[in-house]
Symmetry: C2
Subunit: 324 residues, 2 copies
């Protein structure tokens, strides 16, 4: 279903609308990792995460009628902001269904980016019921966060850029570490690399204790997490790999990696100090794996995708404590 | 002395060694500024500031013998790190003369980047005497921070990139706000724009009370600051415009702008929240001018150069207070 042709077509639709993020590096990080570390900062993407790519891809792939009727998404995080902004830039409407106890800043941001926020009570309501009723009434198209071929295609454009950028640097072999929740970004990148940089291998990175993808890859069958909250890496806590993403991950990815919350926070501090980037905890796990799992990585060069930077100042200050 | 030909030649020498920094934006910043704001983040440059460009330009322009003997610079800040790293990447040595009370992190960073740090006592020694003695003994070439044509040429490559990037966006008119200390970056950019984007006009931005360039441009003669310390924007506190830079600024720049320390800190918080960038106080004054001096700016689009991101965590936390 997902294919390199879909990723290349998505790249055409994204052209002029998405930011091509650079490759950054620092001799200080190389020193810690024991090899060259190249960082692709998707925190610099529109709305502060790679999610804008998948949202743009999905909305731009709709036929004109469906696009005009609008889209709907369930998310309180990066997917919400990506969908709201991509819809607004397409001149269409978006409904974002969020729990009523979501942080005010996230609700405000989603609204300011053009989303119509519909709140629901986690205790008494099911978001799917609310969403399906609205979708039927208004003819909205649901944009799933990862298990959706056009979303995977959009995230795969990160891999296309990376293939070009590494070729320019004569980097033809190595591990590409990817922050992984449901696997949309990891599977999209893996597909792009398979065709455009076959010496590079995607490897999903997760928080310790929420390493469903790592365990699923190791066992060969879909494994679930016991819980989906209670870790600082909120952006990438998902119950299990997707039905569409997992077969792609299984076919193309190397073994998964996982890091602790402390390692994610320490990495945020290092990204502040050495890269001048604001990275969110869930966006830091790939770079943390590059820095702190060096024995599990091979080769002279490792590439880490920083997937997002939407972090509140209190959490960021917690990370900065590692510098004092 | 400084010319567009020198800037273009510097760009050739920098190719493959310098990062082309992207142009970033946020609808939230546009809203505050009342117009489109494009941000060029030189905090993402090697060593965390644009200074690497000028250092590379100057070192790469030396004849082989002089380059092999090494270079020397007086600086405890961004110029020190730029020179140390550019020299190391050229396979040559650098001596950086720093006050013995400079922050330990800056001394450590400069050493880690390959610089030989020579400390002096501000109270009892003159750095020029120490530097000149060393330079004579060892045949070192002095790299001045701004009043040096090859340094200006290197900084001017920011303007060449900007001219290309704005052309791609069909932005042909507007103000380019530049953080300004001695005027190396401002004069380099102004020269590049004169030839490659004549509808764009450079405008130096400074901290209130340290606005020597703004006053010099207004009066037509070089004005000095009463003091050169006691402001959070430490990277751009200089006593007066340079002898080489001022005539260029005078011929090409629009009126200067200045902002308060509070506005610089608030801008750092906004860059954290909306751009995912770590910006230092002195690196924030151009963007602060775009956001908070809108009545002094004309046109639909304004461009702000973020000149650096080398800020300690305590100062950064001070900025983040504006978000709570």
């Amino acid at each position: 279903m997902s294919s390199i042709k879909m990723i290349e077509a998505a790249a055409e639709r994204l052209k002029g609308h998405v930011r091509e993020t650079p490759l950054l590096s620092s001799p200080f990080l190389d020193e810690i990792a024991g090899r060259r570390v190249l960082v692709k900062p998707e925190c610099l993407q529109h709305t502060g995460s790679f999610k804008f790519r998948g949202a743009w891809s999905a909305i731009s792939a709709l036929d004109a009628g469906a696009r005009q009727r609008g889209v709907i998404a369930y998310s309180s995080g990066n997917h919400a902001q990506g969908v709201a902004y991509a819809a607004a830039r397409h001149g269409t409407s978006s409904v974002i269904v969020m729990p009523s106890d979501a942080p005010k800043l996230k609700i405000d941001n989603t609204r300011a980016l053009g989303g119509e926020v519909v709140l629901y009570d986690r205790a008494t309501e099911r978001r799917e019921e609310i969403g399906e009723a609205l979708a039927t009434q208004r003819g909205l198209t649901l944009i799933r966060p990862y298990d959706e071929p056009q979303v995977i295609a959009g995230q795969g454009t990160v891999g296309l850029e990376l293939a070009r950028q590494t070729r320019d640097l004569n980097v033809n072999q190595g591990d590409v570490l990817v922050c992984c929740g449901g696997g949309g970004l990891s599977s999209g990148i893996a597909l792009a690399l398979e065709h455009h940089a076959p010496g590079l291998r995607a490897r999903p990175c997760e928080p310790d204790g929420f390493d469903d993808v790592k365990r699923s890859l190791a066992s060969g069958t879909i494994q679930t997490n016991n819980c989906t909250s209670g870790n600082i890496c909120d952006a990438i806590l998902t119950p299990e790999p997707g039905q569409i993403t997992f077969p792609i991950l299984q076919r193309l990815c190397g073994p998964g990696l996982s890091v602790s919350e402390q390692e994610a926070l320490r990495t945020m501090a290092l990204a502040f100090l050495r890269l001048k980037l604001v990275v969110e905890p869930g966006g830091a796990v790939a770079l943390a794996s590059a820095l702190f799992r060096k024995d599990q990585i091979e080769g002279d060069t490792v590439i880490a995708i920083v997937s997002g930077g939407n972090v509140d100042s209190r959490t960021f200050e917690q990370a900065l404590e590692f510098l004092t």
